[in-house]
């Protein structure tokens, strides 16, 4: 075990759903569950890294202190992190940096959200210099518009079909059936997807993930603390890499919420695009390769985006994701199951909690505790996640 590994001592989640309650209620359930799972007291936590929510007022902007106060002030150090969909992973990175720097041994990483109904819209007010506001105002460019453009490229360039996209939903709906934390636990057939209304062509309602309430928390510790507590670290999941790299100029893929890409007029595109670079930075840090991965939890904001991730993760070459899906390799029982939790397809997105939830799932899988969705014999897994404005993450966990 590397000195730079972090031990995942405990994980906990509040089930995903849509209730509209105070986000801290969900967060407290996840926090208590993670503490219990870790077998430690709240008073043992020296550092709280909170992932912010921007739709729940001031307490959401200072998530670290919000939860530190809610659990009872102990003098613990805190940070609050906002990185769009990657906020949870950035919080993990903050906790990791603090532990590896020797500032603390035990940290809590926590994120919770309550979401409005329907499309995510920009924060209110008239803000004519904010590209996130302007993309709605001038273009009506909702998030599904961007997802749909990626999907359409797969169709026009690689011959992907609506049935392929639907098959991702069918797979994930089966994976999530037995997951007690998933919001949608209903098996979907190809026809269910194809009969659902088109939102942004070619994507249909069941191709696109919902927005959800939910919370996830984890307790991560230094190797020394965990060894002292557990005696042996055999079979205990460890964080091997956390990648939070930004794009390299020029960014040549039109990403949320941009009006335009960077220009390639004077600087050639980088060898790896942003999403690939997120994953490869994680592989390089862990000293591992795609073939070492037994599973992946990826950000399936849409069914078609899950296929893009197969390629960004190096599970197959560009243009081959549909073939990999059809082969069954990414289904539980296959070579490298993707989204064994059921993914965003079964959860919906609870932004600050989602990247943490991905790591919680890998942890349960690696401990053999993923009842009803277990990837047998899994030794290593990777997460992949991307949000607005050059935020993204990839985390590798192994035993």
């Amino acid at each position: 075990m590397s000195d730079r590994d972090l031990v995942v001592l405990g994980v906990g989640m509040h089930p995903w759903g849509k209730w509209g309650r105070d986000f801290t209620e969900y967060g407290m359930v996840a926090a208590r569950a993670a503490l219990k799972d870790a077998g430690i007291e709240w008073k043992d936590v020296e550092y709280v890294a909170g992932a912010d929510t921007i739709r729940n007022g001031y307490p959401g902007f200072i998530a670290g202190s919000t939860f530190a106060q809610k659990l009872g002030w102990t003098g613990a150090s805190i940070s609050s992190n906002y990185a769009a969909c990657a906020s949870g992973a950035h919080s993990l990175q903050a906790a990791r940096a603090s532990i590896l720097a020797g500032f603390c041994d035990v940290a809590m990483v926590i994120g919770a959200d309550t979401t409005p109904k329907g499309f995510f819209a920009p924060v209110g007010g008239e803000r004519k210099t904010d590209p996130d506001w302007l993309r709605f105002h001038l273009l009506g460019a909702t998030n599904p518009v961007y997802f749909a453009m990626f999907a359409r490229r797969r169709m026009d360039l690689y011959g992907a079909t609506s049935e392929d996209f639907a098959q991702v939903k069918v797979k994930n709906s089966r994976h999530g059936l037995g997951n007690p934390y998933a919001r949608f636990r209903k098996e979907n057939a190809i026809e269910d997807v194809l009969n659902s209304p088109i939102v942004s062509d070619p994507l249909r309602l069941l191709d696109i993930c919902a927005t959800s309430d939910g919370a996830a928390a984890m307790i991560v510790t230094s190797r020394a603390f965990a060894e002292k507590k557990l005696g042996s670290l055999k079979g205990v999941p460890r964080i091997r890499a956390v990648s939070t790299v930004t794009p390299t100029y020029p960014q040549t893929i039109l990403e949320l919420p941009d009006f335009a890409t960077d220009s390639t007029a004077v600087v050639a595109p980088p060898v790896r695009g942003f999403k690939e670079s997120l994953c490869w930075a994680a592989y390089e840090e862990a000293g591992m390769s795609p073939s070492d991965m037994n599973m992946a939890e990826v950000y399936d904001l849409s069914t078609a985006l899950e296929l893009d991730w197969y390629e960004h993760l190096g599970l197959c070459a560009p243009g081959e994701a549909e073939g990999l899906l059809r082969s069954g390799a990414t289904t539980i029982g296959g070579r490298v199951p993707v989204n064994p939790s059921g993914g965003l397809s079964c959860f919906g997105e609870a932004i600050p909690a989602q990247a943490i939830a991905q790591v919680c799932e890998l942890t349960w899988q690696l401990r053999g505790q993923a009842q009803g969705r277990q990837v047998e014999g899994a030794k290593a897994g990777i997460t992949a996640n991307q949000g607005l404005f050059g935020n993204g993450s990839s985390v590798i966990v192994s035993v």
């Binding site: 329907g118 499309f119 819209a121 920009p122 008239e126 004519k128 590209p131 506001w133 302007l134 993309r135 709605f136 105002h137 001038l138 273009l139 009506g140 460019a141 909702t142 518009v145 749909a148 453009m149 990626f150 359409r152 490229r153 026009d156 360039l157 209304p197 088109i198 939102v199 942004s200 062509d201 070619p202 994507l203 100029y249 020029p250 040549t252 039109l254 941009d258 009006f259 335009a260 890409t261 960077d262 220009s263 390639t264 007029a265 004077v266 600087v267």
Partner: protein
């Protein structure tokens, strides 16, 4: 595409300084005076090229024609601050690659041209269309936005020639 310009109707851009409203409209981007890279939307301040420390971004017209990078069609009304007409009419959007500038720009497609009419690689040309209409200080006003329309044969030819 035609936009009615009946008497008494004022016509203003829905966002200032991003495109022209003449008969052959074009986007206005910026070009770095030092390294020559392009940006859109136009802005002042730092050049985005990390190898360049210039602060001199000069407004410049962008190519009117390009090719489709990708496209979609909104079947549901986007939420505010989009001002959707009622009843809502589905419309398409296209991201168009400009060869000379090396950038891809997202825009609406004129009403009535749908996703089924588009294809990756198809030539497109910049036009303008009414985004919404509102009475401002007693003046009936059309707020205009740039749109990407399928290019005619002449425009399509000029794409290969670097216009």
């Amino acid at each position: 595409m035609s936009v009615s310009a009946a008497g008494g109707v004022a016509r203003v851009p829905a966002v200032e300084g991003w495109f022209t409203l003449d008969d052959e409209p074009h986007l206005i981007g910026c070009r770095c005076a030092a390294c020559g890279t392009y940006v859109f939307p136009p802005r002042s301040g730092a050049c985005p090229n990390p190898n360049c420390d210039s602060e001199d971004l000069v407004p410049t017209p962008l190519s009117r024609v390009g090719t489709v990078w990708s496209y979609t069609e909104n079947q549901y009304a986007p939420p505010p601050p989009y001002r959707a007409a009622e009843p809502f009419e589905p419309y398409a959007l296209a991201a168009v690659q400009l060869e000379e500038e090396g950038i891809i720009v997202l825009g609406q497609v004129p009403k009535g041209i749908m996703a089924a009419d588009l294809k990756v690689g198809m030539p497109m040309q910049l036009e303008t269309d009414v985004l919404y209409r509102e009475v401002v200080d007693g003046v009936d006003t059309e707020f205009m936005v740039y749109v990407w329309a399928p290019a005619g044969p002449t425009a399509a030819k000029s794409i290969g020639g670097g216009s």
